[in-house]
Amino acid sequence: MKFLPITLLAIGAAALPGWASAASEGDPQKGKEAAGVCVACHQADGTGKNNPNGESWPQLAGLNANYIAKQLQDYKSGQRENATMKPFANMLSEQQIADVAAYYSQLTPGQGQGGDSADEATLARGEMLAQRGDWADYIVSCKSCHGPGNQGAGEVFPGIAGQHAGYIEAQLKAWQEGTRTNDTQDLMGTIARRMSDEDIRAVAAWLSTQPPQSN
């Protein structure tokens, strides 16, 4: 770009929003070692597992490293609350957080689970919400933030295509109930609160059947 207004150069680091704070360089090899305790739930290949009758374990493979690091920091600080995850996040030092984030971000994601049994109408509704939104309820399409194919946009908007349906549902409900509030500017919460239970089930099912980001 030819024109970078000079005034912008004057914006100091202090003016940068919190999300821009760069995570320190992670070492994927060290991350792999630190992730030894994580495999019980997130699986050895990082693809997690959909658990229809309990808490699903999210797929971590292929997620943006800075996004992963932020989530682990948020569990540690209590910004994001989850009884299962908290003790494991607490075990990690700042450096280890950067390391496991680098490690998982490099793994190849697998296919999402939990959406195969959904009927055609449900999947069609889910696809519409994800790709076009439903402006009758001012539900902006998921892809307008989560990027092309819902495979993620930068470090703030994680890939949600190919994530497990049970996990997607649980997160959207957590936003509705106010138990997950760690999103920047309440961007996700605002949308989640406009969704019905059927919408949540539909979009979770459809997204889980979609190809995850490939790295």
Binding site: L8, I11, C145, L187
Partner: protein, 336 residues
Amino acid sequence: MKTSFAITALAGSLLFAGGVVASERTEAYVNTLTELGYPAPEDNELVHIPPTMQDLEDSDTHPEFKRVIRRGYDLFTDTQQLRGENVFNDMNCSSCHLGEGRMPFSAPVWPAAVTLPGFRGKNGHVNNLEERIAGCFTYSMNGKPPEYGSDNMLALAAYHQWLAKGVEMYPDKPIYGRGFPAPDRPEELSYANGEKLYQEQCAVCHDENGVGLQVDGKTVFPAPWGDGSNNWGAGMVRVFTAAGFIKNNMPLGQPLSLSDQEAWDIAYYISNQERPQDPRYTGDIKETLEKYGPTFHKHSLYGQARETDGKVLGDHSNTGEKDFLKPDTVRPRTFE
């Protein structure tokens, strides 16, 4: 919780074969909008909520016509497929016309289909729908419109026209939610406050330097200024238009969350940044301003010295990514 809105504006219900009854759709949208804080329609206003692509699929429209409308929709929401040919910035039509060009308060595009041919002050002659669409290509897309009558132009026009389905031609009533209605202009506008608010509330998506975000060559978040943005001739450079857009549509998903002062301050900050030259540029900024000031640039900051550093805005020959200044569709019509 939903308050009921009585549809007085719609005479009779327009039935789409197999689709939603238009009045039901209108009621659902208007209830949502008023709950979000948008004004309810006035008694004398024409309220129209266009059909959705789902309604198209469910209708008994001729399959070939469906195919062309789908193409128009696809071009409108992914205009980047014409990059380098007709589009020379990062925009899609839907970057400014939210909800696929259907949403009130986000300059829904269908009114053009029922009010044109008509006189437009911006170019001082009678325009038809294709020329109106061409206008957004020339300025908002910093581009070169598809040929009048070409497949792509026809498909886009068909999409606009179909969105207006059921509305009378040349309505006498004012249209509910047309354009980007601006809130009242506050007495003072603050660049510094606009900059601060932009960095706090907008930069997460549009980038601190206003370049937006592209992923795999696709625009996720468009550029509010700079080479990837609309040029100096686009409606959005008028500060009141930007304020109206921002107040009613941004941050994405959180319309009307900013105060009037905040929306204007951010609009003022954005309007103070550079962008590609106005295609009507004569080679001299003073002369251009004299010609187009009275009808247009009196509302923008084009040709003015920026208060922070004295830089004269728009005083350059940068045309962004395109290698021409003005497409040849920008010409007067005299009907002689």
